[in-house]
């Protein structure tokens, strides 16, 4: 993503008596206190379902089906850690937790590496048909995963990738690339041209420019990409269900195997959701600091 539009005409009416609409007046008056309260409300609004899920994970299935989660305020005795204890005691769940790392970490790294390489070429190396290639690659973003299952199955079958972590990783890489390239190409293209050319003048090869100038400058975009690519792979069930075997199954598949045939299974789902949420949240906290600071500040002018 081009973080900043290259040229924006800032044309703000100079004070005097600016025509101010209702919205503008309201917005202008939004004191800090008001913003605090508003955002706090929004946060609560967002948290309520998550909180409900948390409570659901702390009650057994019959309690969950008998009454809504808010009844725990009157009946706190219903709370139990049994759901967690059961999952934590399950060896298969732990194995799958590891498997999820084996799948998500390489799939994320490969996507980030391949997409940044490709995006660099698509934004800073000129070659015939570059524009068309960009559009085609980004156009693949539209491809729904389920369409690819059968053809990819044929391919994996032929190469013996069925039931392997490699296969699952490759699939995720392929379907992560279009978005990653879309995102990074936009960002790379927004890097000031002088910065790239300065590096060229300084004697840097394309590879060095990519590694030592573009990558560090693109940290915010790469951090956001990392977060979401990791998240998507982490939460995938369909691809793993089809292409992984029992020994390489990730946590989503393992949790799914715990479900009862009938019922909302909210106790299991909620517990599983909270257990498997920890890692993505940690990744978020780890990487989000990279896009809080503006990296491009001070590069030019």
């Amino acid at each position: 993503m081009t973080l900043v539009a290259e040229e924006v005409r800032i044309d703000v009416p100079v004070s005097g008596a600016p025509r101010r609409g209702v919205v503008s007046r309201v917005f202008g008056r939004l004191g800090n206190g008001f913003v605090q309260v508003l955002l706090a409300l929004v946060a609560v609004f967002w948290l309520v379902p998550v909180f409900g899920l948390l409570i659901a994970s702390l009650r057994d299935e019959s309690a969950n089906t008998a009454s809504g989660w808010w009844t725990v305020f009157t009946k706190p005795a219903e709370l139990t850690l049994a759901n967690y204890a059961e999952l934590v005691a399950n060896h298969a769940v732990w194995q799958s937790f590891l498997n999820t790392f084996y799948i998500a970490v390489p799939a994320t790294i490969l996507v980030v590496v391949m997409a940044s390489l490709a995006s660099y070429a698509l934004s800073w190396i000129e070659f015939p048909g570059r524009e068309t290639l960009t559009v085609v690659v980004v156009g693949l973003l539209v491809m729904p995963i389920q369409v690819a299952l059968i053809p990819v199955a044929k391919l994996f079958g032929a190469f013996g990738l069925f039931g392997t972590i490699t296969g699952v990783v490759l699939f995720h890489v392929a379907f992560g690339l279009p978005f990653a390239i879309f995102l990074l190409r936009n960002f790379f293209a927004g890097i000031p041209r002088d910065l790239i050319e300065a590096a060229r003048m300084d004697g840097a090869t394309e590879w060095v420019i990519f590694k030592r100038v573009v990558l560090p400058v693109a940290k915010p975009a790469i951090a956001s990409l990392t977060i979401f690519q990791f998240l998507w792979v982490w939460n995938d069930m369909l691809v793993a269900l089809v292409f992984a075997d029992q020994d390489s199954a990730p946590i989503t598949v393992a949790l799914r195997a715990q479900l009862r045939q009938f019922g909302t299974n909210i106790d299991l789902l909620a517990t599983g959701a909270f257990l498997s949420m920890i890692v993505p949240l940690a990744v978020f906290l780890l990487f989000q600091k990279y896009f809080v600071q503006g990296v491009l500040a001070g590069s030019t002018k």
Binding site: M1, T2, L3, V4, A5, V12, P13, V14, S15, P18, V23, S24, F27, G28, L30, V35, L39, W46, V48, P49, V50, G52, L53, S67, G68, W70, V113, A121, E126, F127, E131, L133, L140, V142, M143, P144, Q146, V147, L149, V173, L177, L183, N186, G190, E206, W207, I227, F228, N235, T264, N265, I266, G272, A273, L281, F284, L285, G294, V295, L296
Partner: protein
């Protein structure tokens, strides 16, 4: 710092900025993977869409014809349009507003984390969450629980919800009206059913038939429900129903009103000469307010969209916050110094500067919306699934339901792909503009 010798390298490189050969190592890994695992399946689907379910017989465009003549496709198409028009814009807008506002608070990271949380929950689990949030039963669904709570605060529910007379009465707008008119001196027996004997108020006394009174209309309202009891007869363990409003109606006008006592009896002491109709007003039996049917056919798509907004706002806010951090503070401050209000700064400086990010977010969301199917599948109850249908869901069902028809499914995939063409064309145009 002695000047170097002329550093002209002997390797003849392609001209600066025009180096197809240099691009190859950068592009190759990504392109190989994409070609094998995305492009090939795409081409495969395109070809496959012209074959029948077994994949052996070429059927031309029949799969497409079938798809377009299926009434479900039309609903799906309509819903997709609603989704595309409403959802991405809402999420982008919310993400933008929240991202800008979080710049003013200290707990910005915490706020972003909270909004990011739904993204960290799998779509399947999120679907279940919202299935429960919007559940109709107020003891399960939090939305209806709140609605019912608020409603009951202002208008408490009736005493005997759902109870009804056994026979001889017609349900009217105003209540249950007796079919046979009566006059003073008569006794009216009103056996009610459809109510659990265990929920009869504690003060209720056993029912017994009242004596006919002179000049008075007397009657009994009792719960005619007991194991082994006779219908229409007052059995031993059956009790009168206290507190039921009874009306005497003449020529459509209520001429008298009374309430039953603890033994279920009521009396109209001074009715003038002439016939009246006894009526039990509806308010006695009003069913409790149960909230909205959120998951019914009417509201299902908005409900699913709302849950998608809940999930995806974290996505938008993350990217927009990253974009905001790169906006030169000078531009914002210059505008403020120039006397612009906060709103003007937002409209005329922040948004234009952020427009590239907003576009990436928006386009990604549009495409995501078109691919959505798990959420619809999980949230919509089976009975309204056809109302909530979207193309991606239909494709999933057609391709992978029992006896999956990959031919018809591929046709749907191709249609879906073509639908996104406008978004892609938009992108091409933008790329062109950027270049020039």
């Amino acid at each position: 710092m002695t000047p170097k010798k002329w550093g002209l390298s002997t390797s003849v490189d392609a001209a600066p900025g025009r180096s197809p050969r240099q691009a190859i190592p950068f592009l190759l890994p990504a392109l190989l993977v994409l070609a094998a695992l995305v492009l090939y399946p795409l081409v495969f689907s395109l070809i496959r869409s012209f074959f029948d379910a077994t994949g052996d017989e070429f059927v031309g465009v029949r799969n497409y014809v079938d798809t377009f003549t299926d009434p479900r496709t039309l609903t799906a198409f309509r819903n997709n349009v609603i989704w595309v028009v409403v959802a991405p814009a809402a999420v982008t807008g919310l993400g933008l507003i929240f991202a800008v506002l979080t710049e003013r608070i200290r707990w910005a990271t915490a706020f972003r984390l909270v909004l990011f949380m739904p993204m960290a929950i799998s779509l399947f689990a999120s679907g279940i969450i919202f299935r429960l949030v919007y559940e109709e039963a107020p003891n399960q669904g939090v939305v209806n629980a709140v609605l019912v709570g608020v409603h009951d605060m202002f208008s408490p529910s009736s005493q005997y919800p759902g109870a009804r007379p056994r026979e001889g009465y017609t349900a009217t707008e105003a209540g249950f009206a007796a079919n046979k008119p009566v006059r003073a001196g008569d006794t009216v027996m009103l056996p009610l059913i459809g109510f659990n004997p265990q929920q009869v108020p504690a003060q209720a006394l056993p029912a017994s038939t009242p004596q006919a009174g002179d000049g008075e209309l007397r009657g009994l309202v009792w719960l005619d429900v007991s194991a082994g009891g006779d219908a229409g007869k007052v059995d031993v363990i059956e009790r009168g129903l206290p507190g039921i409003a009874v009306e005497a109606v003449r020529d459509g006008q209520v001429v008298a009103r009374t309430t039953t006592g603890d033994d279920g009896r009521f009396t109209f002491p001074d009715l003038a000469v002439g016939e009246v109709t006894v009526r039990l007003p509806r308010s006695n039996f009003e069913l409790p307010f149960r909230g909205q049917t959120w998951l019914g056919p009417g509201l299902i798509t908005p409900v699913i969209i709302s849950s998608w907004i809940w999930i995806m706002t974290g996505f938008a806010i993350t990217f927009i916050a990253a974009g905001l951090s790169a906006i030169p503070r000078d531009a914002l401050e210059a505008a403020r110094v120039d006397g612009a209000t906060e709103w003007q700064v937002f409209r005329r400086v922040t948004i234009p500067l952020l427009s590239p990010v907003l576009l990436v977010v928006f386009v990604t969301l549009v495409i995501n919306v078109l691919k959505i199917f798990e959420l619809v599948f999980v949230i919509a109850p089976g009975s309204v699934q056809s109302e909530a249908n979207v193309l991606a869901l239909q494709m999933w069902q057609v391709s992978f339901g029992t006896g999956g028809d990959q031919g018809a499914g591929s046709a749907l995939a191709v249609i879906l792909f073509l639908l996104v063409a406008p978004a892609m064309l938009f992108n091409i145009r933008r790329f062109r503009r950027e270049r020039s």
